[in-house]
């Protein structure tokens, strides 16, 4: 017999109301589609936001109205009707399924091949979670550990309510509302997201991950994340999930801001696997994300590691502003495009401080009729004495109908800087595939093996729990692309 205490904890976890969880109140209302100042006031009011935040949203909105949609990326973006989008919809409670038998078998098959555990499968596909005691204790231990260290890890809305001074201090300091078209839009209408603060000298003992967020899937299409690592702090943060994510909202315009103070280090890992659309290119998510980190203090470090396999269109340049002297920025990326997917991704490394260093490793993999571009900027300002950058941008082509493009921009105003750029383009040859076949490895597995080998340098930077799934994900994303 389960004790009352057990039942209480079970209740807590399955409803998400445990203390450090991410419970966002489930409301049922939505407001009509369309975007106006009125819409923004309603959003802000419903979220019970302070006046300054409403002002921030309104300023962003007014700016957005004056901005043209960006046209420079190597992408073909169908026109988006911003008046057709619903900007405030309280997260819909998902139709609760009672067992995995009710879930789309194709989805289950993918889950299995990714090696996702049964409990996790249920959680992802919206089957009522029969929380086993184990996972309860994992989650409670997790929350307790964070609390003990003084770490704040909560939803953005919660942070606005409970830590307004921190949010106000850092919001928009790395990605200003006027930064770009989609950043302005996000700043005006952002729905929810995560907030994370690591106090001085604290090394976060666990990987912070959206995994622990029960409402993760409902943060909406305009997600906003803010991570602050105070002096000497360390955190590794993981976003996303290898399981295929579907969403009714076609447009996703998120913002991630990271601030690293003196001697702080932030590692941010992403696996992005939004619905890419079907083989003919119908449907799929448009993923227009602004991610930027500010290495504010001396010797601070920010590293971005991303595995991008999903979305119909990806537009994303996780960047680092290396302001503190001796600060370090890193960008490790694998971007896979198949069928009709388009990706234009890369990074910007802005060297401002002395002796700043940056590393860029980008591995693009294109298959089918897809288009994959790397776009990167390395900028060295006048005072950035002895700045160093190393960039390596490789493209791997599968088949002859896909495209790979590299757009490296270098701007340096300081002649003591050293900037190295290497680029290669390669193909998987028939001879390589035959060699694998001849050893008993079928073509699909051979492609998986070769692609993972190609991406190894980047995958090595992922936290362990992500790396294994990411490897399988790469292979699965390219299925049917050759042969």
């Amino acid at each position: 017999m389960a004790s009352d205490e057990t039942n209480n904890i079970l209740d807590e976890v399955t409803t998400g109301e445990y203390k450090y969880g991410f419970f966002t109140e489930v409301e049922t209302e939505t407001i009509p589609p369309g975007l106006s100042e009125e819409t923004i006031r309603i959003i802000s009011e419903k979220k019970m936001e302070p006046e300054w935040l409403l002002e921030f949203r309104l300023k962003a909105y007014r700016k957005w109205l004056t901005m043209p949609e960006p046209k420079w990326a190597h992408l073909q973006i169908p026109p988006i009707d911003f008046q057709e989008i619903i900007y405030y919809a309280a997260p819909k409670p998902k139709k609760e399924l009672t067992s995995l038998d009710e879930v789309d078998p194709e989805l289950l098959d993918t889950f299995n091949r990714l090696g996702i555990s049964l409990d996790e499968q249920k959680r992802l596909s919206g089957v009522a979670v029969d929380a086993v005691f184990d996972s309860v204790s994992v989650k409670t231990t997790f929350s307790e550990t964070l609390a003990r260290e003084g770490i704040i890890f909560c939803s953005f809305s919660e942070a606005v309510q409970n830590h307004p001074e921190l949010v106000k201090q850092y919001l928009g300091t790395v990605v200003p509302y006027a930064d770009n078209y989609f950043a302005a839009l996000n700043s005006a209408v952002f729905s929810d997201g995560s907030f994370c603060y690591i106090p001085k000298g604290v090394k976060c003992p666990v990987e912070l991950s959206t995994y622990f967020r029960i409402n993760a899937a409902n943060t909406g299409q305009f997600e906003r994340t803010l991570i602050v690592a105070d002096e000497g702090a360390y955190v590794s943060y993981m976003e996303g999930c290898t399981a295929p994510m579907r969403d009714e909202n076609q447009l996703h315009a998120a913002i991630v801001e990271i601030v690293a103070m003196k001697d702080a280090e932030v590692k941010y890992s992403t696996v992005q696997n939004w619905y890419p659309g079907d083989k003919e290119g119908k449907g799929g998510i448009y993923n227009f994300v602004t991610k930027r980190g500010l290495c504010k203090g001396e010797r601070s470090r920010i590293s971005w590691t991303q595995v991008e396999t999903g979305s119909a269109i990806t537009w994303k340049y996780p960047s680092c502003i290396l302001m503190g002297d001796h600060s370090v920025g890193e960008f490790y990326s694998v971007a896979v495009t198949n069928n009709h997917q388009q990706a234009d991704t890369g990074t910007k490394m802005i060297h401002l401080g002395k002796n700043t260093r940056s590393t860029i490793i980008s591995k693009g993999i294109s298959a089918g009729k897809s288009n994959n571009s790397y776009r990167g900027l390395v900028r060295v300002a006048k005072n950035a004495v002895n700045a160093r950058n190393f960039s390596q941008c490789d493209s791997l082509l599968l088949g002859s109908q896909c495209g790979a493009h590299t757009f490296p921009y270098i701007r340096t105003e300081n002649n003591t800087s050293i900037i190295e750029h290497e680029a290669t383009t390669s193909k998987i040859s028939d001879d390589q595939l035959f060699y694998c076949n001849q050893r008993g490895i079928d073509t699909e597995s051979a492609i998986g093996l070769i692609v993972n080998g190609y991406a190894r340098e980047v995958l090595n930077h992922l936290p362990m729990e992500f790396a294994v799934e990411a490897q399988k994900l790469l292979a699965i994303s390219l299925e049917g692309s050759v042969g």
Binding site: F434, Y435, R439, G440, L449
Partner: protein, 247 residues
């Protein structure tokens, strides 16, 4: 175990193999010799199932199976191994990972569970010693930056790992120094069992001093024009291929 009847093969519309007969029984070692460009590698690749080669006539049976119906990976899983004349490089894929995938795929085909990591590493060590392949090579990417001789030795290492029933070694001896040649030959000899067979393709009778064949065949212009015992290789070396053309 292998039976080839009246085989015709084209590449890009050009006939390379022109009515070839060839058969191999368990426990036998065959050597195939012949001038450059006469179709030796073509024959080896066709047996292994390379797609670019079009079989326009004839039949190949292997262990009673119609070999031409099988995908190349299934031929491998059924025990056919090809030691490549020009092994390709696969950047980023470590030899260890490559071999583990290969072995586990083959085990899966036979209904066996994957080999545990520890067992695998021990097994690999043992086989490395057999061909005196240095440890460090297995940490490197498949054939990447290997010297010519290392690549050939690596082929024999893979053969040792996979324990094929029918091994076809396409000029595994060329590019090897005399010590390496002995090591490779020694490896092949140690792996010889009554229930497997080996076909060595070579230009040099020297190899046959170490791997003693039961039969020697001369492939010329897409056909086997002469077969005999070990002494045929000596005769060829002495008289050159001009002698064959006269036949």
């Amino acid at each position: 175990m292998l039976n080839i009847q009246d085989l015709h093969v084209q590449i890009n519309g050009k006939e390379i193999i022109k009515g070839l007969h060839f058969s191999v029984n368990k426990g036998e070692v065959h050597a195939i010799m012949g001038p450059n460009g006469t179709g030796k590698s073509t024959l080896a690749n066709v047996i292994a199932g390379k797609e670019q080669y079009e079989v326009t006539g004839g039949s190949i049976t292997y262990k009673g199976l119609n070999l031409l119906d099988l995908a190349p990976e299934d031929r491998a899983r059924e025990g056919i191994f090809l030691g490549f004349q020009y092994p390709v490089e696969i950047p980023g894929v470590s030899m260890t990972n490559f071999m583990r995938t290969a072995i586990n795929e083959q085990r899966k085909y036979k209904g066996l569970p994957p080999m545990a990591a520890g067992d695998f590493l021990r097994y690999m060590k043992e086989k490395q010693q057999l061909v005196e392949l240095q440890d460090k090579l297995s940490n490197r990417s498949v054939n990447e930056g290997f010297s010519g001789g290392e690549k050939k030795r690596n082929e024999i290492f893979q053969m040792a790992m996979l324990e094929p029933e029918l091994a076809i070694l396409d000029e595994t001896d060329s590019g090897l120094d005399i010590d390496a040649l002995k090591i490779v030959a020694n490896g092949v000899n140690k792996l010889r069992r009554p229930d497997n067979a080996t076909v060595v393709i070579t230009h040099y009778q020297r190899l046959l001093d170490f791997i003693v064949p039961d039969f020697v065949h001369v492939l010329y212009e897409g056909r086997i024009v002469k077969s005999g015992g070990k002494e045929l290789a000596l005769e060829l070396e002495e008289k050159g291929y001009e002698w064959i053309k006269g036949i």
